[in-house]
Symmetry: C2
């Protein structure tokens, strides 16, 4: 009997057939997440209803040395929830209870399957919201946000998921339940929250999340500004930040992205714009008024030919509709597309956009750019037609080339979508062997058998029996000519 | 030849006698840090001048399996820099260069020995400062702040050191140099910054710190309010926070602490006060004006019989002088004292203060209370006279009892002074065996030989060969009656 068959038998007996899926047809539902280029039918699916179920499933996997992968809503864009054919997929989406809203202390405790926007809806009556706002916030789960350390348009001012998580209940890869952090700040001992948030399922499975709630702002103002070029829009972005204004969001779209959005949702962006900026300001009314004047001034000084201020929530929603629908809208102008995710220093924006345009022209591929300009997080959309021979490969080449450009310009291979299955091969371009070695030593501390979402994040697994230590380069004692003393 | 003698020989040869102290008389200088109850003369002292020196010293220790301890300015209050008699003390205080101030990106890169206040002085001309402000900020080092995750009066609004560190250069216990984080937000891979900050030297030695700089506020207002009792002052604190005002600081002192401060620095606090609050507001001028009115209203509604607003920086400095000198001032009313550091939920303040008073009365010991009321971080000062037989033991009992009270009221055994040598024995009262096990597994990932500041933080070392796993309680498969399947 194979290890997976034994795990299947164990879990069917422990959890029953309603929670354990073995039917090949039903298993296929889970073959990919939001990155549909990669597909693997899982060996077994477990629908967890509570932390005990998760612990039971993980303990069975640990006992059988069978790999497992956790999945939330399956909206991830780096293949982080890509299943293993010989492994177990643990689906967390039935765990979706908001357990506690403690408005007085600005905290809430939620199940991992709770939808991001549902938490904001539940806390709005008390005057609070959950700040991280990925574009998928109406469907993505908070557990998934924790796994990927998700950002969103407003993370320029409010930070990523990691800045809003204060406690986690975790099932470790050994099947043990552990609490990390909690409601109170600064507990003694190691603060492992940072390591867990964004670890993409490689250190265990989160079964409860304690989050910080953010007060709803007194005032919100949204500006739409049309520019002739992305150079001008980029210069305006830099000028706004340099003036000391930190808007809640500064989003940029280029001409091709605007064209797609107009076709899809008729958002009425300024005609003939080579780029638009969406700038949102929030906070105390007095502050916002002053910041609004600054933003308009810097837009106009940098060539904005039209600026509009949303008069009310309806106009604000229309401005955002163009931006938020941009990824899907690209379907109107191209049969297929890849979404890339990279980061560059804000000041390098104009230069990198020109390099992307050159790269795209060279390979005869169109690239639409939609991005969080304020923090230099690019989301180039690489367009192609899969029916055309070799087009997908050319698109992949360009998408990969864009990451190389990000690295060469002092940036990063991912801003908010994660490394997952998709980008593990790029990790050695960003990190030294010693850096990766240190991360993997931590992974071994949690998961010595490499069964917790293996194959994600790290290009090559580390044999966990090894002791940490120098792997390459001269030892400082050798440099000092003293290596032979011991 | 003992392992330490071999390390001594190696390091004398590599670094020379100017940087390697072996003279017993000079070694004695380093026998304790700010917690003078514990004293150990180190076996060897290395004065590091750069990261290479640190790597050389650590590599020699690793090769010889000799324990090492890093020391900054030696102001720590939990014995975190207590040396080992058979080990090496690596002194970081000569590494005190501010390497870069990048005001445009609100970042600075500093050596670990840079004094906390020196960084603020260096960045003030550009309109910035370094927000963490421990009372020792004129002498403590930023490396020490990182090791202990130091707070300060203003961490209510601005957070602890961990909220202001974005990158670290670290020498791992194997002697390897690693970079963690950096200037850009949200790099891929594990975010180990949180684990490193506050790890009290048990995961390696920090050789460079990249910090976030905070903009100097437009306006600062400081209020001194006199109350009849700590109950009233506590109620005012809760009312201010509940109203949604987050002051930069809310500090409380009780009658005994006020008496000591008056004797030492004649700060002129309201006569006859059973407690005073120092409330500081900062930010945009318009916001501060509104918040000031709220604070005054809540103080008066909760029984403040006198409130004063500092008219200028001189008056502000006088108000703070009383608070900041309180620890030392206690020397005016008692020959000896212990400084305790615990945390309780803010709302439990009045109740815990009564319990502390009862405990002190029972053991015939006086306790002065000075604390960061806004975030529930207590600093009781337990007074005694070492010349009196048994007095030190009674004081220790009361100090320990206060921690038990903190835990019983849902708090923590340390707010900002760290666990160090002093509080390791209390860790099992706050954490389950599984929680501690997970932390120690991470420690083993960095330091399998237990040579990096051993004996601190954890009550008992873990044997690092063990695999992580369930140590106690029923296995979930046992609970399900299925433990025998594998």
């Amino acid at each position: 009997m194979s290890p997976l068959s034994r795990v299947t038998e164990t879990l069917l007996a422990a959890l029953g057939p309603e929670q354990v899926i073995t039917d090949r047809h039903r298993l296929r539902t889970y073959e990919c997440d939001g990155l549909a280029q990669y597909k693997v039918v899982p060996g077994l699916v477990v629908l967890a209803r509570d932390a005990d179920d998760v612990a039971t499933a993980v303990a069975a996997c640990a006992a059988g040395q069978v790999p497992f992968v956790a999945r939330g809503s399956g909206t991830g864009l780096s293949g982080g929830a890509l299943p293993r054919a010989e492994g177990v997929l643990i689906v967390m989406s039935q765990m979706r209870q908001i357990r506690e809203i403690d408005a007085a202390n600005q905290r809430a405790v939620v199940d991992p399957g709770v939808i991001n926007l549902a938490l904001t809806r539940a806390t709005t009556p008390d005057g609070y919201y959950f700040a991280p706002d990925p574009s998928s916030q109406s469907v993505c789960s908070i557990g998934g946000n924790v796994a990927e350390n998700s950002g969103g348009a407003h993370c320029l001012k409010y930070g990523f998921t990691t800045n809003h998580v204060v406690g986690l209940d975790v099932v470790t890869p050994a099947g043990e339940r552990v609490e990390i952090g909690g409601k109170a700040p600064d507990p003694p001992g190691y603060d492992l929250l940072g390591a867990l948030v964004g670890s993409e399922g490689t250190l265990g499975i989160v079964t409860a999340v304690t989050v910080r709630l953010t007060r709803l702002p007194q005032e919100v103002q949204t500006v739409l500004a049309g520019f002739r070029s992305t150079d001008d829009a980029g210069a305006a972005t830099s000028a706004i930040i340099a003036a000391g204004v930190i808007p809640a969001a500064i989003e940029m779209m280029d001409a091709l992205a605007i064209e797609a959005a107009e076709k899809a949702v008729a958002c009425g962006y300024p005609a003939g714009a080579g780029a638009v900026l969406v700038v949102e300001l929030d906070g105390a009314a007095a502050d916002v008024a002053g910041e609004l004047a600054e933003v308009l001034r810097h837009c106009e000084a940098n060539g904005a030919f039209e600026t509009r201020i949303a008069a009310d929530d309806v106009e604000r929603a229309l401005i955002w509709k163009g931006r938020k629908s941009a990824f899907a809208a690209v379907g109107r102008i191209s049969p297929d597309y890849l979404v890339q995710d990279g980061v560059i220093p804000r000041t390098a924006l104009p230069q990198v956009l020109r390099q992307i345009a050159d790269l795209a022209a060279e390979r005869d591929v169109r690239v639409a750019n939609v991005f969080h300009a304020g923090d230099g997080n690019l989301h180039p959309l690489v367009l192609f037609d899969d029916a055309e021979e070799g087009a997908a490969e050319r698109a992949e080449d360009v998408a990969g080339g864009i990451l190389e450009l990000c690295i060469a310009n002092g940036g990063s291979i991912t801003g908010e979508h994660g490394v997952g299955a998709d980008k593990a091969r790029y990790m050695p371009k960003m990190f030294t062997a010693a850096d990766l070695e240190t991360m993997q030593a931590v992974r071994c501390a949690f998961d010595p058998d490499n069964i917790s979402n293996p194959g994600k994040v790290f290009p090559t697994p580390r044999l966990c029996g090894e002791r940490p230590g120098r792997r390459q380069g001269a030892h400082p004692l050798q440099e000092a000519g003293l290596a032979e003393v011991f």
